[in-house]
């Protein structure tokens, strides 16, 4: 009976257009933020920070970026790994060439560089659609892989082609502690995520969705496909680029191009689709799922084995892990093709009507 909107009347369109029109949702969202910012830092261990929280947060941001493109504008992309890389290497170059810049400024600027590149690689989308476009974006991916390795100035002529992030600090205070890393990533993710949410519920977001749902009709009612698609590519690449820069600076600290290879692209796509196309919340859920599930399986299986008195080798664990993971993906799609976010919504609907079935 808790989850009721009865008695909540919208006095203004502003209220009606809020992100969380329903009071309970607002409350839950607030609670989550409070937990994320104030509670977690007191309970999280270094392991949960470095292995779970930080990657989840950063990849959520990347997933949001990809979702803008795939979920809202309907342009499938497999180049997101490369765009993370662009963000990372752009930030790195700014940091080494303009040492007076604060690393986090570099992170943001890295995002803008990624956006620019994103627009360039978005141009084919004006002509190519669906899976053809998906494969075409792989051109961006592989070109990225190559450029990061081959073009010397990108890696500042380091012999091996692996580079290091500058020490992280802000106004003189050192931000290399896991807690600081986590909070910084979280701030980036929340602020930019909110921005993305605002865009997708505004008129530009509607243009993207119009293109996604029926591009011809959209054009006939005055949506410029070029503007809509390229703006989507730009925003998406910006978010992904910032995520990439954070991944490099905050999470890895020192990295080789393989950190942004095709596997990353696929990982992000899994997150978006598992989480739910066209849902900001879904992106986060997807990231949580994709990051946590393997770790969870990997840690949970051996003890389970012990329980049934069967010593499971590391190899078996990882094979089972990949099997269960695959099975889960299929299972989720069968239960709810539109991802965790939709599952969440249906859950809420049920809760709304509870205890009455209809």
């Amino acid at each position: 009976m808790l989850y009721r909107e009865a008695g909540q009347f919208k006095a203004s369109y502003r209220a009606d257009q809020a992100i969380f029109p329903i009071a309970q949702d607002r409350f839950v969202a607030m609670a989550l933020l409070v937990i994320a910012f104030l509670v977690v830092p007191f309970v999280a261990t270094e392991y949960t920070y470095r292995a779970v929280l930080i990657p989840t947060v950063i990849l959520s941001l990347a997933a949001i970026g990809l979702n803008v493109l795939m979920g809202y504008c309907g342009q499938v992309s497999l180049g997101s790994g490369a765009f993370m890389g662009v963000g990372a290497y752009a930030a790195y170059n700014l940091a080494v060439r303009l040492p007076f810049l604060n690393p986090f400024v570099c992170v943001l600027l890295g995002g803008f560089v990624a956006a620019a590149i994103g627009i360039v690689f978005g141009i084919p989308s004006l002509r190519i659609k669906g899976f053809y476009l998906a494969c075409a974006t792989l051109a961006a991916q592989f070109f990225g892989d190559w450029a990061f390795l081959r073009i010397k100035w990108i890696t500042n002529d380091t012999p091996s082609g692996s580079v290091n992030a500058p020490p992280l600090q802000l106004f003189g205070l050192d931000l290399s502690s896991p807690t600081a890393n986590y909070l910084v990533s979280l701030v980036f993710a929340v602020v930019l995520g909110l921005g993305a949410k605002n865009i997708v519920r505004g008129h530009i977001g509607r243009q993207w969705m119009a293109i996604r749902d029926m591009d011809i009709a959209a054009e006939i009612i005055g949506v410029l496909p070029m503007y809509a698609k390229l703006s989507a590519f730009a925003v998406s690449s910006f978010l992904i680029g910032v995520a990439g820069a954070l991944w490099a600076f905050v999470y890895l600290g020192s990295w080789e191009p393989a950190a942004f290879d095709i596997d990353r692209s696929f990982e992000l796509m899994f997150m978006v689709i598992i989480g739910g196309l066209g849902s900001i919340l879904g992106s986060a859920l997807g990231a949580i799922f994709i990051v946590l599930m393997p770790i969870f399986l990997n840690q949970a299986l051996p003890p389970l084995g012990d329980v049934v008195g069967w010593k499971i080798s590391t190899a078996t664990v990882s094979h089972f892990e990949s099997m269960i993971f695959g099975a889960l993906i299929v299972f989720f799609l069968v239960v709810e093709p539109h991802g965790l976010a939709r599952l969440w919504l249906t859950g809420k609907e049920k809760l709304r009507l509870w205890p009455f079935p209809h």
């Binding site: 053809y132 792989l138 006939i220």
Partner: protein, 307 residues
């Protein structure tokens, strides 16, 4: 000149090897509109099943040909099981979902197959010898000094690919099932309404794709040894697909030839000046530029926009 020809021929032959992988994608996309991400994993699974069975049967001291036949039979059965499971446990439950959902499902299938295949057949590297000759050949030695080098294995691969394609063509044109497949490809609903059982068709398509994967696995396996990397060949097949069109069997071959020749020539003649290693993205860029001219690929069905 001689060297140029050599690179060209080498490229063309390499392209055929990509086509072998690409074919599997085409078959399934053509008949069920599913972009089967799992094709690479199927190649791996088929090859692993083949090589492991072969080892076992040779330990039983079966005559080679018999062992080979047995191994192929075994691998074929494995692929049949994969196809059956894919249809029964995945596709059937996701009928009438958008392409992207089915695509995602096949990604799940990929993880599952990779995990299963490795845990059952092992994650090691297994040399595979199915009696394909592997020695280098030198042709036209009279014309060019040193002659032009080709590899017997590649030639055999080309021959096999040729047979495979003609076989598939006949299968699609001549047999009842084949025609049914084409009907389904054209219009699911219509096909169902005239009483073509979709689930059977899908099973058959996946089976055929599985067998194609088996052939690809056998050829690539005897080239590289059977190991996990086989599942990564899918990435080499994608530009071929884009170029040839997702729905065209000949397209897969022609696309393969173009990509193969293109990337090898680029790598050998442009590569050194650019620091090398350009062929992967070059293949994709070629495909991409090509798409800009013909968005539906070489032989892909034309997209006509209406309102």
């Amino acid at each position: 000149m001689g060297f140029f020809l050599e690179v060209l021929i080498g490229g063309l032959l390499a392209g055929v090897l990509y086509s072998l992988v690409a074919l599997g994608f085409v078959l399934i996309f053509k008949a069920s509109g599913v972009f089967n991400f799992a094709q690479g994993a199927m190649v791996l699974a088929a090859a692993l099943a083949l090589v492991r069975a072969l080892d076992v049967m040779e330990q039983w001291h079966w005559p080679f040909t018999l062992a080979l036949a047995g191994a192929f039979a075994f691998a074929a059965v494995v692929m049949a099981i994969v196809a059956w499971a894919a249809e029964r446990l995945v596709l059937r439950k996701l009928v009438n979902q958008e392409g992207i959902i089915l695509f995602m499902a096949t990604i799940g299938v990929t993880f599952f197959i990779e995990g299963l295949a490795q845990s059952v057949f092992g994650a090691d590297v297994y040399p595979l010898n199915i009696g394909l000759p592997k020695d280098p050949l030198f042709i036209l030695e009279s014309v060019f000094d040193g002659g032009i080098l080709v590899n017997e294995l590649d030639i055999w691969a080309a021959v096999i690919a040729g047979l495979l394609v003609t076989g598939l063509a006949l299968f699609f044109q001549r047999t009842r099932i084949g025609r049914a497949l084409r009907a389904v490809a054209d219009d699911h609903a219509a096909a169902q309404s005239v009483g073509i059982p979709l689930d059977q068709i899908w099973f058959i398509v996946w089976l055929v794709a599985g067998l194609v994967a088996l052939v690809a696995g056998a050829v690539w396996g005897s080239k590289l040894g059977v190991q996990f990397s086989l599942s990564l060949l899918a990435l080499k097949a994608l530009p071929v697909l884009i170029l040839g069109g997702f729905t065209s069997v000949p397209g897969a071959i022609i696309g393969g030839l173009i990509i193969g020749a293109g990337e090898k020539l680029a790598e050998v003649f442009l590569g050194p000046s650019m620091g090398g290693g350009i062929e992967i993205w070059f293949a994709y860029v070629v495909a991409l530029l090509f798409l800009l001219v013909r968005p539906q690929g070489l032989f892909g069905e034309r997209i006509i926009e209406r309102v």
